[in-house]
Amino acid sequence: MAYDNPELQYEHSSNMITISRLSQQAPKILERYSLLGEDTSVVSILNLENAENFDVLEQLAFSCLQSGDDRSALVCIDRLAKRFGSSNDKVAALQGLHEEATAEDRPALEGCLHKYDTILSENPINLPILKRRIALLRSLSRPVEATTALVALLDAAPTDAETWCELADIYQTQGMGPQAIFSLEEALLIVPNAWNVHCRLGEVLYSCADSSDVGNACHLLRRSIQYFCRAIELCGDYLRGLYGLLMATSLLLKIRTGHQEDSLVTASLMTHDTLKNLNLFARKRLEEIVSRRSSDHHLWEHGQAELIATKELLSRFDSSSK
């Protein structure tokens, strides 16, 4: 898994270690692409002006902002602005992001919000700015406004999976499970093969089942298990999916053993054997992954938090089964 080519690392990742490592390479990459945006006539003749190069700059700006290297991020954004003009949708959104990141107090953030509103009054369908505005509303902890804005955005652009996922996230933090499930299903309709969205849907269903009565919980858990299974089917070694599968099957097993005489519970279409097998399968698989990844330094480094959580879960199961 050693990365020889730095570009390969530019997957958008939420892992802090990966991000900081990427942003440490900023000077190197910036130097390499220093031609970009300097003198356009020379660049276009040399055919250096590939879309990919600008993608790299954009990604670099994101990771620099995430790791707090605001100066490098500004250099990236300036370069993009020089090429595409600062009125370009994406560039404007990046500039806004930088301003938000460097804003020191609440009034400064409110100022950003006003700026977005002015941009939107000129062009009401500026998608990147619309999204930034919603994210800003969320970080200002005004979730109700953010939700209304998201719903309005989705009314105009219902084919954007990212927005649906964001809406689902807000709904879930507000404790509105069924709405979150609906939003995630819409997202799935747009990206039917995204295993992370499948897994997320499974997680939301699981947490809904956790807080509802027994009959309903069984139904929700069954659906949750199905989505986790689908995530695993799409991506065989998906740690998060396996973790969810293990949790969901264990919970369902527990409920079933507690309410064996209840016909509502036992009539949930899945035989007890299948359930047990799935539980066993998920556990075995997780153990295997943990042992494999712990020995390999590279793998270990990239999903550290997940692995630690998995280890803890497994040890908890071990102690309870003894």
Binding site: P124, E185, L189, C229, R230, T274
Partner: protein, 267 residues
């Protein structure tokens, strides 16, 4: 009739070769490259929607198509709910830009500025193909018509005569001789791979890509051609949705997982 077994010989000035074959070929290649860059320069990107309502009108249809293609990820209940919602929304014209205009004939694309622009774009593309071709063909006709310039090193059947000897009306000439006008046609259709080599595979000098571009609806994010009535498209889509049958990929997935992966685990 040409005598069998007797090699026809035509005394040609070798300069004919250098002054006709090479010029035609070079001119064809250069115009191809020129056309490629001219198309890039004149190509205006499809206009994005300017208001929220317009965007909703366009994407509303794509949403239906997405649903139709990917509904297998949903469970039965959520499928039925969405299907009913979409069908009734399509029937009521809930996604239309201005619902008041329903049932009226669509605006004439000639008077609608947005439609006009799209038509201009198409016309520009066609013009880029036609004008150079007409020019070069008349150039060849004026200067080189009637020359026999090449002899193919292999025999051919009589059917190829019309292909290889256009512009030379001699019945008895052996099919292996190629006239200048035919050389132009051969270049016109045979230089695709040369352009692909010089300009990259998705070049604008390529006829085929030009023709395909007209047929790809996803290209401009706008599913509606100018002059098309969105309401009619919605009614169509509603019908498509109404006849849909649901199957769910999640049915029996537990057994599938256990079979596919579990068997491997069991050793």
């Amino acid at each position: 009739m040409a005598l069998q077994g007797v090699e026809q010989t035509i005394l040609r000035d070798p300069a004919l070769f250098y002054w006709i074959v090479f010029p035609i070929t070079i001119v064809m290649i250069l115009t191809g490259i020129l056309r490629h860059y001219a198309t890039i320069l004149m190509n205006s990107p499809p206009k994005p929607a300017s208001t929220l309502a317009e965007s909703r009108e366009r994407l509303g249809l794509i949403r239906g198509v997405n649903f139709r293609n990917n509904a297998y990820v949903l469970s039965k209940d959520s499928f039925e709910m969405r299907k009913n919602y979409l069908i009734s929304a399509y029937h009521d014209g809930a996604f239309l830009k201005d619902p008041g205009n329903r049932g009226q004939p669509p605006a004439n694309p000639m008077t609608d500025p947005a439609g006009m622009e799209a038509m201009m774009g198409m016309m520009k593309g066609n013009m880029m193909m036609m004008i150079p071709q007409t020019l070069i063909m008349s150039w060849i006709n004026a200067f080189f018509s009637g020359f026999v310039i090449l002899k193919l090193p292999f025999p051919l059947t009589i059917r190829f005569k019309s292909m290889l000897q256009s512009g030379v009306m001699t019945r008895d000439l052996d099919v292996r001789w190629v006239s200048s006008l035919s050389w132009y046609f051969l270049n016109l259709f045979g230089l695709q791979s040369v352009f692909g080599f010089i300009l990259g595979s998705d070049n604008a000098a390529n006829h085929m890509s030009q023709q395909m571009a007209g047929m790809n609806p996803a290209a401009g994010m706008n599913p509606f051609q100018p002059g098309q009535d969105p309401d009619k498209m919605y009614q169509n889509e509603a019908e498509n949705l109404a006849v849909m049958e649901h199957f769910c990929i999640l049915d029996g997935i537990e057994e599938r997982i256990l079979q596919n992966y579990g068997a491997r685990e069991a050793y």
